[in-house]
């Protein structure tokens, strides 16, 4: 799986590459994927084979790591429907594959989950889970738990009702589906549902916290990373923002959007839920990953989950109960004043509530949030969470007339820009026990890549202008960097090769929501393009070009 373990740590215990020798890292092999869109996937290594899923058209490559230059063992083309490209909101990305019992599972942009025989690349089954005509797509990496492939959907802006679906890993048949809105029986809320906070208790809140029928197309899609605690037997995942309604059209908390669910993998039964951002006003999808660790909190050992959320707070939660133990800002925040730990409620600043016809300045964090999809990494050695993230604010402007499908309206354009300090990105090390940022590296562009940290106390991430960087995990010192052919928004990984040596791999290939200005060749004069992100990224096309390329490094 992309995160290496069920706990979502992205920690590799390998320690051949150390802080002392990482400066000698050199290219072992590279491979062009032939795809020009944003490459967000993690290469995953099983045995002697590496698997890579590309963005649309979602090719899967298997590389034989025992061969010189890691020759292509097989390539699979799922024949993804081309019209899915026009539906995806934020570039046609794919976040990777998952492996279990000789099978490789991945999702296509046109809503298929496909199982391949990992040895031969032969298709074993495919399950069609949605309709692109209805605005649905799938971009996330599945997670396989107890013989079930867990898959979530994308498209919250387009009237898609979010869900997490479990498929039988052997056959592809649907075992259960848990919606993020609607009646309890469709959200799979039953007698075992015991949310920690009062506001999450009550019958059919997935209906009652919405105007009468609004929940039917209410969003809450599931496109981030899932995690699983085998001991508690709970799967954790976040839900996306409510849509496609304007906030004024959907008064109420809009459950179960922008929150985190804990569910039983066998049945899908919800055990608890916590709403990070009730009645979302700023597109703060709650899809960010939960990292499962055990920590001493207030002197007591607790099973917690760590979430660097899109709304700007690092949450430390009791993962058995859903109680918020702490929530501290890791970026500059103006939209909210904090999280009340007694009630669990996010405290909005009413002065930053958007309203049509008004210009609202200094909305921080901007719509992509403090951290979007890009996954953080946890080191049990340094006890730090390594968070790749943004430092973006936005002004919500009343735009000129907009026009979609023959329907004129006045748009509300967001124009994003760098937050305080002028840097648009950061790579931060966060101490969840001391509840503070230990060090941070300021980056000019948003850090849209994932992170990995190793037993050698080296952390890796990439920048959108194409630098792949090795960092001293203890103090943030830059130890090594390599310039790739395109900006990096992928998930770096570390693995032990067939030769027994440690390797580090990453996909370059700029794109994604942040990099769509390059991969989608958007007009830099139109600051509102890519939902306002282009305004903050006008200089990116000058420093990088699209094109997927796998890079693999090792010591000499």
């Amino acid at each position: 799986m992309p995160a290496r373990d069920y706990a979502n740590t992205r920690f590799s215990p390998l320690a051949e590459i150390t802080r002392a020798n990482v400066s000698k890292l050199q290219l072992a092999f590279s491979f062009s994927t032939g795809v020009e869109k944003g490459h967000e996937a993690a290469p995953i290594v099983i045995g002697d084979t590496m698997y890579v899923v590309t963005p649309y058209p979602n090719y899967v490559y298997a590389f034989d790591l025992t061969k010189p230059g890691a020759s292509v063992k097989w390539k699979f083309d799922p024949k993804t429907n081309a019209s899915a490209q026009g539906v995806a909101c934020c570039d046609v990305v794919n976040r990777g594959a998952a492996y279990a019992d000789g099978r490789l599972f991945f999702n296509t942009l046109d809503n298929n989950t496909i199982a391949l025989d990992a040895a031969s690349g032969k298709e074993l089954w495919r399950a069609k889970l949605g309709e692109i005509r209805l605005g649905q797509t799938i971009t996330m990496a599945p997670l396989v738990v107890k013989g079930k492939v867990l898959v979530g959907n994308s498209g919250g802006e387009l009237g898609v009702r979010g869900w997490l679906t479990a498929l039988d890993a052997a056959t592809g048949k649907q075992v259960w589906r848990a919606y993020s809105t609607g009646p309890d029986n469709e959200v799979l809320i039953g007698p075992s549902f015991k949310p920690f906070y009062a506001q999450d208790r009550g019958k059919d809140l997935g209906i009652k916290t919405w105007p009468a029928e609004a929940w039917k197309i209410g969003g809450g899609t599931v496109w981030g990373f899932l995690s699983y605690d085998p001991e508690l037997d709970l799967v954790y995942y976040g839900t996306g923002n409510p849509g496609p309604w304007n906030p004024e059209q959907r008064p109420g908390d809009n459950k179960w959007t922008c929150g985190v669910f804990a569910r039983r993998p066998d049945t899908g039964d919800a055990i608890w839920f916590y709403q990070l951002t009730p009645h979302d006003l700023h597109d703060y999808d709650g899809i960010n990953e939960s990292v499962l660790v055990d920590l001493p909190i207030g002197g007591v050992a607790r099973k917690v989950l760590l979430r660097a959320d899109r709304n700007g707070y690092v949450y430390v939660m009791d993962r058995a109960s859903g109680e918020v133990l702490s929530a501290d800002a890791f970026v500059h925040i103006t939209t909210t004043l904090g999280v009340d730990l007694a009630s669990g409620a996010l405290q909005y600043d009413p002065q930053k509530n958007p309203r049509v016809g008004t210009v609202l300045r200094d909305i921080c964090p901007a719509s992509p949030g403090a951290k979007d999809w890009q996954p953080s990494a946890w080191s049990p050695r340094t006890k730090l969470l390594y968070i790749p993230h943004q430092n973006l604010c936005q002004d919500a402007l009343v735009s000129e007339t907009s026009y979609i499908a023959g329907t004129p309206y006045v748009g509300a354009d967001a124009k994003m820009r760098a937050g305080p300090g002028g840097n648009r990105g950061e790579f931060s090390a966060w101490d969840p026990v001391a509840r503070k940022k230990v060090w941070t590296i300021k980056e000019d562009f948003p850090v849209w890549s994932g992170a990995v940290v190793t037993g050698g106390d080296v952390a890796f991430y990439g920048t959108m202008d194409g630098w792949f960087k090795a960092i001293d995990a203890r103090n943030g010192a830059l130890l090594w960097q390599y310039k790739t052919s395109s900006g990096i928004i992928g998930q770096p990984v570390s693995y032990r090769g067939p030769d027994g040596h440690q390797y580090v791999a990453v996909l370059a290939g700029v794109g994604g929501w942040a990099g769509a200005v390059v991969s989608g060749d958007l007009d830099t004069r139109d600051g509102s393009a890519a939902l306002g992100f282009v305004n903050a990224m006008k200089d990116l096309p000058h420093v990088t070009k699209p094109g997927g390329m796998l890079y693999v490094f090792r010591l000499p």
Binding site: L158, P211, E213, W245, Q249, A405, T407, P408, Y409, A414
Partner: protein, 268 residues
């Protein structure tokens, strides 16, 4: 082949044969499935206007089909696939637009249980089931969507997304016919077209901004749009609109487009 060439065909036959070998093309960007505006089978009123414009230019009509969704200008005209849109809002900033050739409004479409509803202040709105279009743009709504929210109408409102089987307006009119809705707020040209074709009698009334939000625009001028630097084509289209105004009006009337451009008189 220009009309000037046509009129001198007999005098300059050879020249015109040469020109005819490479006829001028009018490349129109259009949605393949968005009636009443356009359809790939040519049955929309924008198809008819495109034909009229092409004939007027003596040009061969070609289409670049793409659903008018996010990024449609970039993906069609921006990619060099076509040169004009037949109908866009007159102040649409992504394009250079002609003079408007019609003006319409969002309208109330009233079913049997909602006869005469034309205002957001109508007390009956509270108990009626109302349909509204959802544009699927973050933090934006259609003007009626805002107006309903502003006047406290949220619980009895049903949203129709632009993504789905067939145009949202068609699904709304079907919901009115089947009694699932009492009233709907729809952009005029779509309302006029689908209401006319409905077997259920429906009444259309121009929707006005609620008093509390007089700044909300419900009416929009519609013009043709070309590339921002293509002044020559824009000027040519302006001339055609002026010259063929009566024919364009007749096409719009045949499609029952509600018009609010009463002041739209003879050009200068």
């Amino acid at each position: 082949m220009s009309s000037a060439c046509r009129s001198t065909l007999l005098l300059l036959g050879l020249l015109c044969v040469a020109a005819a070998a490479q006829p001028r093309e009018l490349r129109v960007c259009a949605d393949p499935d968005n009636l009443p505006f356009s359809h790939e089978d040519g049955s929309g009123f924008e198809n008819r206007i495109a034909r009229l414009v092409a004939d007027e230019m003596g040009a061969e009509l070609r289409y670049a089909w793409l659903p008018l969704r996010r990024g449609f200008v970039r993906k069609t005209m921006g990619a060099g696939l076509c040169d004009m849109f037949i109908g866009v809002p007159a102040d649409y900033e992504r394009l250079l637009t002609t003079r408007p050739y019609y003006r319409s409004s969002y309208v109330f479409v009233d079913g049997a249980g909602a006869r005469g509803v034309a205002s957001f202040n109508d007390p009956r709105l509270r108990s009626l089931r109302i349909g509204v279009q959802l544009v699927g743009d973050d933090l934006a709504a259609t003007p009626p969507g805002y107006a309903l929210a502003m006047t406290g109408h949220v619980d009895n409102v049903r949203g129709f997304t632009i993504y789905g089987q067939g145009p949202a307006a068609q699904r709304m009119i079907e919901a009115l016919a089947s009694g699932e809705l009492d009233a709907a707020l729809i952009w005029g040209p779509q309302a006029g077209y689908f209401a006319t074709r409905s077997t259920t009698p429906l009444e259309l009334r121009v929707a006005r901004s609620p008093a509390s939000r007089a700044d909300l625009a419900f009416e929009f001028d519609i013009a043709m749009g070309v590339r921002r630097d293509d002044r020559a084509l824009r000027d040519e289209l302006d001339a055609i609109i002026a010259r063929r105004r009566a024919d364009i009006d007749a096409i719009l009337a045949a499609f029952a487009v509600p018009r609010t451009d009463l002041s739209w008189g003879p050009g200068p």
